[in-house]
C-alpha cells in the first residue's frame, strides 16, 4: 500500500537525532510491547509479513506522530482481534469474556532460546527457475497495490541492474494476504542515484534494493 511507512525519498520529516548511550528500551511499556508482540507472534496465528502489514495500515497521521513501539502495539491489537484470539470488547474493557481458542502452543520461557535461534525463516529450498542473473538490466514495475508490498515507491518504474541473486524466499506480498508462501527469487538490484533522483544526484552513488522477481521486468 502507498502508506506513509514507505518513506524513502521524502523530505521534511526532520533531522536525524542520534542519542548518545541510548538504552535498548526507554520505558517499561516498550519492553512489554516488544515482548508481547514476539510472544503472541510465536502462537503462529500470523506471519511476519502480516505483522508488518498490520503496522502499515495504521492511519498515516497517527503513524507519523507515534513512536515505533506504538506502531507495534497497534499491529498487535489488530492481529489479536483479526485472528480471533481476543475481542475488541476485551481490549476496550480490559477484561476477558471469552476463552482463548484451544490447541495453541503458548511460548514458555524454556522455549525462548530455541525459538529465537532458529536459522530458517523466509528462505525456501524450492527449485524455482530464475528469470534474471547478475548483470541483467531490469525495470521495477509500476505497481500500486493496496495490500502489502516490499517494492518501495521510489523504485517503481526505475531501471536497475541485477547485482546478485539471493536465492528463493517467501513472497511477502502473497504471504501477508494469507495466500501462501509462493516462493520467488529475490535479487539485489543496483540503481544509480541519478536514475532514482535525477541529474542533481552524484553520478557515483548507488542504491541497492532487494526485489522479488514479480517486481521486475526485463529492461
Amino acid at each position: 500500500m502507498n502508506g506513509v511507512h514507505d518513506m524513502g525519498g521524502m523530505h521534511g520529516l526532520g533531522p536525524v537525532e542520534p542519542e548518545p548511550n541510548e538504552p535498548v528500551f526507554h520505558h517499561d511499556w516498550e519492553r512489554k510491547a516488544f515482548a508481547l508482540t514476539m510472544a503472541a507472534g510465536f502462537l503462529g496465528k500470523w506471519n511476519i509479513d502480516m505483522g508488518r502489514y498490520a503496522r502499515e495500515v495504521m492511519p498515516g497521521p497517527e503513524y507519523l506522530t507515534t513512536s515505533y513501539y506504538e506502531h507495534w502495539l497497534y499491529g498487535l491489537e489488530l492481529l489479536l482481534v483479526e485472528k480471533g484470539l481476543v475481542t475488541s470488547e476485551e481490549i476496550r474493557t480490559k477484561r476477558p469474556t471469552a476463552p482463548a481458542p484451544e490447541g495453541l502452543r503458548v511460548l514458555r520461557p524454556d522455549d525462548v532460546p530455541r525459538r529465537l535461534r532458529a536459522v530458517r525463516a523466509a528462505r525456501m529450498e524450492d527449485d524455482v527457475p530464475a528469470k534474471f542473473k547478475a548483470g541483467d538490466g531490469v525495470v521495477a514495475r509500476n505497481i500500486n497495490p493496496t495490500g502489502h508490498t516490499r517494492l518501495p515507491r521510489y523504485a517503481r518504474g526505475k531501471r536497475g541492474v541485477i547485482d546478485r541473486d539471493h536465492g528463493v524466499f517467501i513472497y511477502p506480498d502473497a504471504h501477508a494476504a494469507g495466500l501462501g508462501k509462493q516462493p520467488q527469487h529475490c535479487y539485489s538490484v543496483r540503481f544509480t542515484a541519478r536514475e532514482l533522483w535525477g541529474a542533481d544526484a552524484l553520478a557515483r552513488d548507488v542504491i541497492y534494493i532487494d526485489c522479488f522477481e514479480p517486481y521486475l521486468t526485463p529492461a
Partner: protein, 211 residues
C-alpha cells in the same frame, strides 16, 4: 537537543502513563486468557536487553580484521561465518556483509519499516527506526553521513542498501591505522555500532578526539 524531556521527541515515546496503562491492561488480558506466559516475556526482554547487542557484531568485525580466511568466508557466506561465532537466529537468518574500502562506503537502511540484523547488532536505535533517517538515507546519504560526522570524499562511491526483503546487512568497516599489533579483543573494543550500520567511522586509537 537533550533527551531530558521525552515529549520533545516523538520516537522516544511520550511520558504519559496511558501507554503504560494500555500495555499493562493488554498484558494482563493475554496472561489471563493463557495466551502468553509472563516468564517467557521476561526471558525475551532479558535476551535483547542483556545478551544480544552490537558487541557481537564487533567480534565478527575484529575476527575479519585479523583472520583473512575468516574475512573471505564472511564476504562469501556471511550467515555461516557469523554462525561460527555463535550469532544466529531471528532477524539474522540471511546475512550479507558489505566491505568498506578506500573507494566504497556502504550504509544500511530500511525505508519501509526498520529491518536490522538483531543477532549481531541487537535491537535498532530510535533514530534508525524514525522517519528522518528512513526517508533521507536513500535520497541524501552524504547529507545524513555528514550529520553523523562522516565525511565521504567525492571520489568514494556511496552504496546505500535498503533492507526491503529478509536479507540483513552488516557493514565491515575499514581497520583503522595504528592498530598493528592489536589483539582481536582490543580491536573489537574499537568497533562501534554505528560503524557497522555504515554511519560511523572508527577512530584511530591513541589519539584524543579534537573538540
Amino acid at each position: 537537543m537533550t533527551h531530558d524531556h521525552d515529549h520533545d521527541h516523538v520516537d522516544a515515546g511520550p511520558p504519559l502513563s496511558d501507554l503504560q496503562l494500555r500495555v499493562r491492561a493488554l498484558e494482563s488480558l493475554l496472561v489471563d486468557k493463557g495466551l502468553v506466559d509472563p516468564a517467557a516475556l521476561d526471558s525475551l526482554i532479558d535476551t535483547y536487553e542483556t545478551k544480544v547487542g552490537p558487541r557481537n557484531g564487533a567480534r565478527v568485525v575484529a575476527r575479519a580484521w585479523v583472520d583473512p580466511a575468516y574475512k573471505q568466508r564472511l564476504l562469501e557466506n556471511a550467515s555461516e561465518a557469523i554462525a561460527e561465532l555463535g550469532y544466529i537466529g531471528r532477524q539474522g537468518e540471511d546475512m550479507v556483509v558489505l566491505e568498506n574500502t578506500p573507494k566504497v562506503h556502504n550504509m544500511v537502511v530500511c525505508t519501509l519499516c526498520s529491518c536490522y540484523p538483531w543477532p549481531v547488532l541487537g535491537l535498532p536505535p530510535v533514530w534508525y527506526k524514525a522517519a528522518p533517517f528512513r526517508s533521507r538515507a536513500v535520497i541524501d546519504p552524504r547529507g545524513v553521513l555528514d550529520e553523523f560526522g562522516v565525511a565521504v570524499p567525492a571520489d568514494v562511491e556511496v552504496r546505500v542498501w535498503d533492507s526491503t526483503a529478509e536479507l540483513r546487512y552488516l557493514v565491515l568497516p575499514e581497520r583503522p591505522a595504528g592498530t598493528e599489533g592489536f589483539s582481536e579483543e582490543q580491536l573489537a573494543e574499537l568497533v562501534t555500532r554505528d560503524s557497522m550500520i555504515g554511519v560511523g567511522k572508527i577512530k584511530a586509537p591513541g589519539r584524543k578526539t579534537p573538540r
